[in-house]
């Protein structure tokens, strides 16, 4: 910190003058906290307090007879032993392991194509691909529910026309792939724009030198461009992992359109929602929220560290 203030002081006055000036700057620097205070108040009230209260609540149990009593870790052991909770966790991990690589592959492919300018109308396509980002997940899920709906959905007619008669996109075997398609529809454009911007910052002369060496295009992409945008890819994996593990809106809306297609514990977030609201077991849900939060932090951080490590060695 002192280094910073010294730099600020350079070029002004002599030695003693500089010291006086940097003391003056330090005094003004302390006023900077007033810029941060409004946020800090909200941060404490709407993040710290609820989290602390959730931990507190999770240590109690409310009984119909006897009121609220301290129950220690019993809500935690109950959640950790609940196969309902864990089957949801396993499902979103499988979902993330399929959805994220597929989406990032598509996003990276198109980001490269538009960056290289090897397809026509790149600008128009980029705008179109980004549109779903502006569509709320609820509306996206509603639109896709109508399209995939087993009795009337046009996609079912299409599948029948192609010879897949009796296709039911809401059946237990196809519900997860359907959700994956919906989420890919929602998020590919956003990821593509970020990767495209990252690719744009790859120095042009590096690519030109490679062209002069007769390097084939795919090699330029894999050997030059991909390593240079690795930080962007790592961050996208991280952000998408956090998002995927919290999957909630799409399965809930699909369950409105086809009762029974999505179980109450389909994802951990749905499980928490149903535990807190439908079953009114708030103490148990609080413990679940704490566990889910920790699981997500661990998995997403692990994905970040793992990728970083690999990046260092290759």
């Amino acid at each position: 910190m002192s280094a910073v203030t010294a730099t600020q002081g350079t070029g002004i006055g002599t030695g003693t003058g500089r010291r006086r000036r940097s003391a003056w700057i330090q005094r003004r620097d302390r006023r900077g906290i007033w810029f941060v205070v409004p946020f800090l108040v909200g941060f404490v009230l709407f993040m710290i307090v609820p989290l602390v209260y959730a931990v507190y609540t999770s240590l109690y149990t409310t009984k119909i007879i006897g009121g609220t009593v301290f129950s220690g870790a019993s809500n935690y052991t109950q959640t950790l032993q609940s196969s309902q909770f864990w089957s949801g966790v396993v499902r979103v991990i499988i979902y993330a392991a399929i959805q994220i690589p597929v989406m990032l592959a598509i996003a990276f492919f198109f980001a490269c194509v538009f960056d290289l300018g090897v397809a026509k109308f790149g600008r128009t396509f980029r705008t179109i691909f980004f549109i779903p980002f502006a569509v709320p997940a609820v509306v996206g899920a509603v639109m896709w529910s109508f399209l995939l709906e087993p009795q009337f959905g046009p996609m079912v007619h299409l599948a029948n026309a192609f010879g897949f008669s009796g296709t039911n996109f809401f059946s237990p075997s196809l519900i997860l792939p359907s959700i994956i398609v919906i989420v890919i529809w929602e998020w590919t454009g956003y990821n593509m724009v970020i990767l495209y911007t990252a690719l744009k910052s790859v120095p042009r002369d590096v690519v030109e030198a490679a062209i002069l060496d007769d390097t084939p295009l795919w090699r330029i992409i894999v050997r030059i461009k991909l390593p240079l945008v690795r930080p962007a890819i790592v961050l996208l994996i991280f952000l998408n992992t956090i998002g995927a593990l919290q999957l909630f809106t799409e399965p809930l809306i699909l369950s409105y359109f086809e009762t029974g297609s999505v179980s109450v514990n389909f994802t951990p977030t749905l499980y928490l929602y149903n535990t807190a609201i439908a079953a009114d077991q708030t103490n148990l849900a609080a413990a679940g929220a704490v566990i889910l939060g920790l699981v997500i932090v661990v998995i997403s951080t692990a994905s970040l560290l793992f990728r970083k490590r690999r990046g260092e060695f290759s």
């Binding site: 006023r31 941060v36 194509v113 709320p136 009795q151 009337f152 708030t282």
Partner: protein, 346 residues
Amino acid sequence: MTELKGRGPDPAASQGAAVPPGLTSDEGARREGGTSRAARRRAARLERRAAEIESVIPVELYGLRRGTVTLLTTLAFLFAIFTLVPIAWIVINSTKTQANIFETFGFWFARPFSFFHNFSLLFQDVDGYGTYIQWFANTALYAVIGGGGATVLSAFAGYGFSRYSFRGSKVLFYLTLAALLVPITALTLPLYLTYAKAHLINSIWGMILPSMISPVGIYLMKVYTDISVPRELIDAARIDGAGEARIFFRVALPLMVPGFMTVLLISVVAVWNNYFLPLLIFNVNTKYPLTVGLGLWSERAQNSGNAQLFPMVVIGGLVTIIPLIALFLLLQRYWRGGMLLGSIAN
């Protein structure tokens, strides 16, 4: 940063504004204000386009086989169709009656043309499940105050973290970054439990105030301030006797505008699209935002035999997405430019 390129002095506009004799160039520019601003904007756009074209290496140099460009364009076209199919469906079916939504071909129009009838239903409380127009007003209120507030707080805090070093500033900034790790779900449920205890269920402030706390926004504003507001400028203003607040509003904020707009866009969209928090904290339909209202209609239409709600879900969905798509098309340069990348650079 592409948008910065367009902000430089541009020769076309200044040449175009001819100065009548007897006026200083300043006055001339002011008199021609309307046209020259448009001209300048057009020139800036052309310049940006030119810079973009220049940065692209000619396709021929890659030594591609004939037809590769056609093939890749076709693939992009197919993905564009995939992207537009649901949008096309919702536009077409907003013109249909309830029976026709299910009985006619989904990707073509059918008689009778029911768009205006469907649209009028958005202003009524059908079956007591709530009025769409009220949800729209609620959403706009939450998005403008919540998203706008998030942007203002992020600009303040981002600037504070970027250009001041006070006791604990580093720790507080890392704490803010750590908050990025906390999953929204794991935060929203505790928020709901706290509201239940504090009797804040069904309070609009319970929706608006947490929306103003945006760690992502603060991070983006800090990164943007780092690169766009020079310390020397702040020091110079201090020597001139300006107070810290005045420096922020008069010196720093104008330089932060592109970053400010990007954070505003992201924050407004985040509130507009939020579903989980309002779903938990509101249980009277007069407080609902669009997302919760449309979710409720979908559920009732299917499960309570209120099939007349289906056309309303369709047209309601369409009216929900139009403002946001328009906003994105208008503010393209803020998400096109380097700002989203700024979130990754460090």
